[in-house]
Symmetry: C2
Subunit: 429 residues, 2 copies
């Protein structure tokens, strides 16, 4: 795609309240635009990243055997009367419509999914059921902050599972941990499974935390894998690890990118969702909920993967695989050759499934184009100029490397394809 045709280019300004790298860099690189505090528009480049993250989440949820559905954001008050949560969810946006009808905006969907699944599950034979949706959620955060990390409207994948037995629930719950770790690892995040508050029903829920200095959570953790959220921690810094016995407990700042929660029969009981078991007795159904915020993942990736020049996207979720730059030449014949080579690279790579963002702008200096490429952060920059033409080459620079090299024009397409297909080699900043 030609950058000249894309709405919303890079710009120097960021929101005055940009209090974190993701808020500043995503705005400057033209990925998001703040509509008001905690509420953003996704611009073309940002929407591409968001959609790639959603697709990874979708693939892992499908592999887990869950069915994708789409529930409404508008919830009737009577659903919350049933679960007695109308007044207890403090971030719930509430509104009145015509005829004095009262609604909430979905901040989570237990109140909608439980009666929905109940309608279709007639017998124990219909269990287990696992359904998920990828949808925008609304939360009346008193203090929205940190760009995409804590917003009032944000993207969420929420999965709900329903089971006949504790054993079946536990099996699914453990399997979901693996799916979650797959999602984060494919998105370039090194997430840790952390024990967190389980509410009134379970000892623990589990959070997926990514360590970074801008995180608003604090976790106590050991190299062996043990980790607890500070809020419930039974350990403190420098304690001996209660799991491995040999490691020392460390403190880390981190961002929560996902959480999973055993709900037992908290919601199924409220909605009278029971089935007749194999033994003929009515049995309470056990439920779990499992959340990942794709927009929060997007913000977290920028927190972890950036440098002083801009974003360094992991390959799997970069807006484009390749950032192609044509350097304008005054000589018409040379200019034509440069544009011809770029067009061929663009078209041949597209045919191989490699996305190319071609900065074809004619009135922008080479220096500005390089700065924009670094800010936007696609994994590979390819430059075609009079100089590279003379060498029958293109200039190759990986975003996380500082050195460039020349690659023969003839071999460029194959080498690029191989590079894009190879695993990432990024480290956190």
């Amino acid at each position: 795609m030609r950058y000249s045709k894309i709405f919303a280019k890079t710009n120097k300004s960021a929101p005055h309240d940009a209090d974190s790298p993701n808020a500043r860099l995503l705005a400057q690189a033209g990925f998001i635009n703040q509509s008001m505090s905690g509420v953003y528009s996704y611009l073309p480049l940002g929407l591409r990243v968001l959609n790639k993250i959603k697709q990874i989440v979708r693939e892992e949820m499908d592999a887990l055997g869950a069915n994708e559905i789409l529930m409404p954001a508008l919830h009737s008050k009577n659903l919350y009367d049933t679960t007695e949560r109308w007044d207890s969810i403090d971030v719930l946006f509430k509104l009145k419509g015509s005829g004095k009808k009262e609604y909430a905006l979905g901040s989570t969907h237990e109140e909608v999914v439980t009666p929905l699944v109940k309608e279709y599950v007639k017998s124990y034979k219909d269990l287990p059921v696992a359904v998920y949706q990828i949808q925008d959620k609304f939360r009346d955060e008193p203090r929205a902050k940190s760009g995409l990390l804590r917003g009032r409207e944000f993207s969420m994948k929420d999965l709900y599972s329903f089971h006949l037995t504790e054993e079946d629930f536990n099996k699914f719950y453990e399997k979901s941990k693996e799916s979650y770790l797959n999602v984060f690892s494919r998105c370039g995040l090194d997430a840790v499974v952390v024990e967190a508050s389980g509410g009134v029903f379970s000892k623990f829920s589990h959070e997926f935390q990514v360590k970074t200095e801008y995180g608003e959570d604090t976790i106590f953790n050991c190299k062996c894998g043990f980790a607890q959220n500070k809020e419930i921690a039974e350990v403190k810094e420098d304690d001996d690890c209660p799991k491995c016995g040999t490691g020392k407990i460390q403190t880390s700042k981190s961002i929560e990118v996902g959480n999973i929660f055993p709900l037992k029969n908290r919601f199924t009981k409220a909605f009278g969702f029971k089935v007749q078991g194999q033994d003929g007795k009515q049995t309470d159904i056990l439920m779990g909920c499992y959340g990942i915020g794709p927009s929060r993942v997007m913000g977290s990736v920028v927190e972890v993967h950036h440098d002083d020049k801009g974003i360094v996207w992991p390959k799997a979720i970069a807006p484009f695989n390749v950032h192609l730059i044509s350097i304008k030449n005054k000589d018409e014949a040379i200019q034509e050759k440069i544009m011809g080579i770029c067009q061929s690279l663009h078209d041949e790579l597209n045919q191989l499934g490699v996305d190319v963002l071609w900065d074809d702008r004619e009135n922008i200096s080479a220096g500005q184009k390089f700065a924009d490429a670094d800010l936007i952060g696609n994994p590979l920059r390819i430059v075609v100029s009079e100089k590279t033409l003379a060498d029958n080459s293109v200039e190759w620079k990986e975003r996380h490397e500082s050195e460039s090299k020349l690659v023969s024009t003839e071999n460029a397409v194959n080498k690029i394809k191989m590079f894009i297909d190879a695993p990432d080699n990024l480290t956190s900043h």
Copy 2:
């Protein structure tokens, strides 16, 4: 995909207020579930259809040169203060958040898109701009009705274009009509371009109407293509057509599936969105808005394409291309053969990009499976049974035909692929 693994099967019940074929059939076939009046969940089969429609819309918008973005549903009141529409949009859902902050839920996005585009358009050289989003909209309809046709929360593609000159605007506006007709025709709808009220600025806007007895609109139209909405009609039934002069004006009931609207400088002026033109003078920017409701398209297709047995989906938006049925046999060896053939068909067709819904349920009668296939409405039903095995064949029945035939198992995959790739041959009910 195996039907046994899909959440939400067909069921006999429909919402008590199901007042139209789409409300009844989509609920019974397991495509949607009513959460409350005018608010629905999309079940796995329904979400597939909705996503196919959205993808067709996306392709046509991209071909028009528009950029996809995603704007928030939560709008700040001050945007509506700027355009003086806070009190004039009668279907606007309004809410108060913490700190007494007032919001509206997006029923349309002029208030968000205009200041957004203004931020990135610095000069006349940046024009024209066309951006669109596919997002859920909220409207406080006093009387939600007709299933997906008039809801309180529904899917919308809204496109906005910005132009320096009237000429450029007109060119784009006419081009958008073609894109819209492409969308509807690809979705199996025969839409008519209808002149409608232009508001205070233009003589006309244009609606895209599909004729059907359940429509809530009335249009006056002639065979030559002339059509006006009753609300603004300058003609009446049996008048001579003012366009062709020879035809007679007819009355038709219809459903509005899209509309396009010249907004002149109504919103750009309110937000002070001007640019310096080539002549150095500050110029008002002209704007258009263009809407299609993918969920309303889905409902409209069912209104037009169904029979007394169920839905008859056009190929392009059917949840699956093929409905494969295995008929359970008591003889273990025969049953194994039947399941083996079904598995091969399923896998080979999937590899060719043909979606297969395989009704593999073992405890469901053949008659019930046939009834479900008709209700769900995929374009082609293939049955494998002891009887077809004996003929080295499968049974082939197109959804809109009443007769079935046998096709040799060997040729089935190729014939199915050819059938799915061929154009539809549906007529409205």
